[in-house]
Symmetry: C3
C-alpha cells in the first residue's frame, strides 16, 4: 500500500465507527411519541423508528400505543374506533383491550386466547409521552432523561412540532456543533463571531456537551429584545449544547452584560428541549419545548421567543434536508473530513453507532424468536391453524 | 426449540402456503382485459399482470391485443395509428397485421419474415373481452367461467370500473369474507347483525363459496328501497359469495319477507360480477357488472342500485388501499392469525398460491426458452444480425 | 439446443455488445456542462453523469466546477456564497479557492493542509463550457470535437435547452436514424417520403454518419419558408447526421431547387449541434445550438427556424420519454430486432458500449484507490483523525 492508500484506509476504518444515515435505529431507548395533549379519545397514527403505531388515551386517562396492524388481516387499527377502552378494528370488528389483547371476535362466540398486538410501554412525564421501543421487559422509566425543568414553576415554556425530511443523526450533530450559527442562522440568531469563539467540551459515555463563550458580542434581535440588552456592546452569550440521549438534546443560552460585576449582574437563561424521534431513515419528528427562567410573566416574550426560535429551527431543517439529498445522490465512496471542533460530535456519533450495533443484535434475536408479538399470543397459532383447516 | 418457537414455526410454515401480495401472478388464466365497448377503432393501453398491452378492434369487429412494445426499438405501439387492420408504429412506421406480425418495414422493400409481437388470445363474451395471459397453445375458452346471466333477458345489469391501489388477493379475500360488512360498510349496506350471522361454506378445487343467512334482519336502505321491504322487521338477507376463478368473484344477495310462507313469498335477487384483473403487485383493475332479476323494467332501481353499490365498493377499495400501505410499511416477520370464519378464504388463498407456483414454473421455462415472442419470429434474429454487421 | 434457442442465444449475445439504458456512463469524455452565459457570479447546481456539480465564474472570468459536497459534513456547496473567488460553504463556513482547495476553516486558526473537493477540468469554447468527467490527468482539450462553425461569421445561431426524462443513448440513436421523421415528425418537419429515401452511411471508430437524399420532395413549412422554396415541386433535401462524440451529435440539412443546374443553383444549409449531457440513467440535458449559413441577416428566419426546430425536438423528447417508460416497465428478456437502416446506429451503440466498459474499469480503479478527492487532500485524513480523538 502506498502512503495515500494507508491514510485513506485509516480514515475509512475510523468513519465506520461513527453513526450515519445508514446506521440502524436504536430500539432499546425511550423516545417521545407525542405531546400529552395529543393523547385523547381518538386514534392517532404515528410512525416511529420505521414502525407504524396507533395511540390513544383510555377513559381512565392512561395513554396506550400499539402496533398499528390488526393480528387478523393486518388492517391498520388507527382506522378503527374506540368503544370505551376497547379498540374496535375497522375491518372485521376484532376488539382489543387497552393492553393490546384481543377480547372479542364478532364472528364467533368464543374468543381466541392469548391473541394480541404489541402494546408499547409508555411513560407520561409533564407535557411529554415517552415510548419504549425495545424489549418491554427492559422498559426502565429511570432511563428517561430528567426534564423536570419543563414542569418547574421557575420556567415558562412553549411547544412546537416540525417534521424534517432528514435522518436524525444529522440533527444531533447539528445541535452539538454550533459553528454553523454564523452561516445557517446568519439572518436569524447567529452572529459572525460565533464560529470562532472559544469553546470547551465534555465527553462521557452517553453524555456529550459543548459550550461556547461568545464574549464580548452584540446579541441578535431575538435575545437582545427578550433580555433588554439591546444597547449592550459588551454582552456575553454562553451557549451550551447537551446530548442527553439518542432521543433528546438540550440547548441552553445564557446572556449578561459583561460590563457589570459577576456577583451582581442579572443573567438571562433560555433553554430548548430538542426532542428527536426518528420516523424513518430519511425523516424525523422534531418536537421542541422552549422556555426561559427570566421575566416569566411577560407573555409577549413567550410568544416572541417561540416564534423567532422556530424561524431558526426551520433554517436548520432546511439545511439538513438539503444535506440529506446530497448524501442520497452521492454514489461514490464518501469520507467526512473533521476538524478540531468536531470532537464532541464525533464522539457522540461513535456512541450512537455503538448503541445501534447493540440494538441490532438484540432486535435480530427477538424477531428471530418471534417475540414481536406478546408471548401469550403464541398459543393462538394452533387454534388459528385448526380454524383454517 | 421452545414450545413458542415450535408454534411460531408451524404458523409460519402454514402461512407460506397462502397467497399474499408477494405471490407472483397466475399467468395461465383468462382475465377480463376490458368491456366490449372499450374495444374500438383506437389504440388503448392497459397494464395487466405487470405487462403493458395495447388493444383495439379490427374493421371486421374482432378484438386484438398485443404486447405494447415494437420489436424494433421498443416504442409503445399504443402511440401508433390504425390503418385499416394494420397497426402502424409511431416511431419508424413498422406495420403489424391483426395477428401481431410485421408485414412492412418502410425503410426497405423486403419485409423481414417471421417478425412480430406477442398477440394475446382474446375471447369476447357478452359485455366482456377476456384475455389469456399464458401459453397461447393452452388458451381453452372452455375455462372461462360461465357468466351467461349477464346476457340473459331475466336480468337487468349495469357496469362500472374502479382502479384499486392494492393487490388483487386482498380483494378476493374481502369478497369471500362478509363479516366486514358490519364495519367497513356500516354506513352503506352493512348492518350490525351481519358479522355474527350463521354461515356455511363450500370448498372445492377452484371453487369457494360462503353463504350467510341474516334472518331476521332489517334491510339497509339500498335493498329496502329496491325491494320494497322497507317496513319489514322480519326480513331475510341471504348473501352468497362465490370465487369462480382468480379473475372473477360473484356475489348474490337474496331478500324476502320472512313472515310470508316459503312457497308463495316473492324473492328478490341481486348479483354482482366482481371482475378482478391484476394490474401490478399493488394495483388492480376492478370491473363490476351488477344486476337484478326483479322489477327489471323499473329504471330508477337500475340506477339507484348501481350508484349505491359503487359507494359500498369504494369503501372496500378505501379499506384495501389502507391495508396495502400497512403491509408495505411492515418491516418485520408477519403472521396472520385466522379465525373459524376464515376457512373459505384461507382455502381460496391456498389455491391461488398453488396456481401461482405452477404458473411460475411454466413461465420461467417459457421465458428461458425465449418464447415470449412468437416462435416464427426467431428466424429474424439472423437477418437482423446480418443487417447490423 | 434447438435451432430457435440457438438464434435467440446468438441475438442475445449480439445485443450484449450494444449500449442500452443499462450501460454505465462514459466518464473519460468531455461533456457540455452549460452555456457560457450560465457561468456567472452565482452558484449553479447541475447533475452530470449522476454527479451533483456546482459551477460559477471567477472574478477573472474563468469558469470553475466542483463536486457539490463539502468535504467536512457533505453540505451542498451550491447553497454557499461567493466571496470574491472564494466559495464559502453555507453550513460551517469552510472556504474554498477556485481550485477547490480548502483555504480557511473559521472555527480554527490553522487551516488543514491538502483538503479539497474535486475540481473538474473545464474548457470554454465559444458559447459552450465543456467539462472533463474523467481522470483530470487525462483532460486533453484536443479531444473536444471541433465546433468552430458556432463562432464563424458565416453562420447565424440560436440556443435552446430542454430536459429529457430518458436515457441519452436513445437520443443518439434517434439522431442517427432519420426514418422516424415521417412518423414522429409527421406534423412538423417530416414528410412521408423521408423514410424510404436512399441513404449512405460512414462507420469509423468514434465517427458515425448517415446521409439521406430525399429528391425530389416538397419541403415542409419550416424549410420551405426559410429557403423560399415554397413552390418548388422538385426540391432536394439532403439530411446528414454525424455522431461526433458521446456528448455531441450534429445534423446538417441542405436544400436546393433540383430543377436548377448544379453549378449555379443556390444551396441552403441549416445545422444543429445536439449537445447531449447525461444527467442520470433516465434523464438527459439536451442543449441545442441551431444555425444557418444563408440569409444570415434576416432576423425573422433566425427566430422562426429556432421556434420550429424546438417544436420538432420536443416531439423527439416526447417519443423518447414514452420509450423510456416502456423499457422501464418491461420485465422480461428483451430483444431489439434491427433492420438494414440501423447499421450506423448499431455500430454507434457498440462504440458507446466499448467506451463505457473501458471507462468502468478505470473508474472502478480510481474509486478503489480513493482518488475521488485530490491526492493532496489525503494527508488531511490523519489530521482529521487526530482532531476527532
Amino acid at each position: 500500500m502506498t502512503p495515500n492508500e494507508q491514510s485513506i484506509s485509516a480514515a475509512r476504518k475510523a468513519a465506520e465507527q461513527w453513526a450515519t444515515r445508514d446506521t440502524p435505529f436504536i430500539f432499546d431507548e425511550w423516545y417521545v411519541l407525542g405531546f400529552s395533549h395529543e393523547f385523547e379519545r381518538t386514534l392517532v397514527k404515528r410512525t416511529v423508528l420505521g414502525r407504524d403505531l396507533v395511540f390513544f388515551r383510555t377513559e381512565g386517562g392512561t395513554p396506550a400505543a400499539f402496533d398499528d396492524r390488526c393480528v387478523h388481516r393486518s388492517y391498520p387499527l388507527s382506522r378503527g374506533t374506540l368503544d370505551g377502552d376497547t379498540l374496535v378494528c375497522g375491518y372485521h370488528g376484532f376488539r382489543y383491550n387497552a393492553e393490546g389483547n384481543v377480547v372479542e371476535v364478532p364472528s364467533q362466540k368464543s374468543c381466541p386466547k392469548g391473541l394480541g398486538v404489541h402494546a408499547y410501554p409508555l411513560c407520561e412525564k409533564g407535557p411529554l409521552v415517552w415510548v419504549w421501543m425495545g424489549d418491554p421487559a427492559e422498559a426502565d422509566e429511570g432511563k428517561i432523561p430528567d426534564q423536570s425543568w419543563l414542569t418547574s414553576s421557575d420556567w415558562v415554556t412553549n411547544q412546537g412540532y416540525m417534521r424534517m425530511e432528514a435522518n436524525y443523526v444529522s440533527l444531533h450533530e447539528n445541535l452539538l456543533d454550533l459553528t454553523h450559527l454564523s452561516y445557517v442562522h446568519a439572518k436569524s440568531f447567529g452572529t459572525p463571531d460565533y464560529a470562532s469563539a472559544p469553546y470547551q467540551t465534555t465527553v462521557e459515555e452517553g453524555y456529550f456537551m459543548l459550550e461556547r463563550h461568545v464574549i464580548p458580542t452584540r446579541l441578535p434581535p431575538v435575545w437582545a429584545k427578550s433580555t433588554g440588552l439591546e444597547d449592550c456592546a459588551n454582552a456575553a452569550r454562553v451557549a451550551k449544547s447537551e446530548f442527553l440521549s439518542p432521543a433528546l438534546h438540550e440547548t441552553t443560552a445564557t446572556f449578561y452584560d459583561n460590563d457589570l460585576p459577576a456577583e451582581s449582574r442579572p443573567e438571562f437563561s433560555a433553554r430548548t428541549a430538542h426532542i428527536i424521534t426518528p420516523e424513518s431513515k430519511t425523516s424525523t419528528h422534531y418536537f421542541v419545548v422552549d422556555g426561559r427562567c427570566f421575566a416569566t410573566d411577560e407573555d409577549w416574550i413567550t410568544d416572541f421567543m417561540h416564534e423567532q426560535l422556530l424561524v431558526a429551527f426551520k433554517e436548520d431543517i432546511d439545511a439538513l434536508e438539503a444535506l440529506e439529498v446530497t448524501l442520497e445522490n452521492w454514489n461514490r465512496p464518501l469520507y467526512e473530513f473533521s476538524v478540531a471542533s468536531d470532537h464532541a460530535s464525533i464522539s457522540m456519533r461513535k456512541y450512537l453507532k455503538k448503541r445501534a450495533d447493540a440494538s441490532e443484535v438484540k432486535l435480530h434475536r427477538r424477531l428471530h424468536e418471534g417475540c414481536s408479538v406478546p408471548p401469550a399470543s403464541l398459543n393462538q397459532h394452533k387454534e388459528a391453524g385448526a380454524a383454517a383447516k
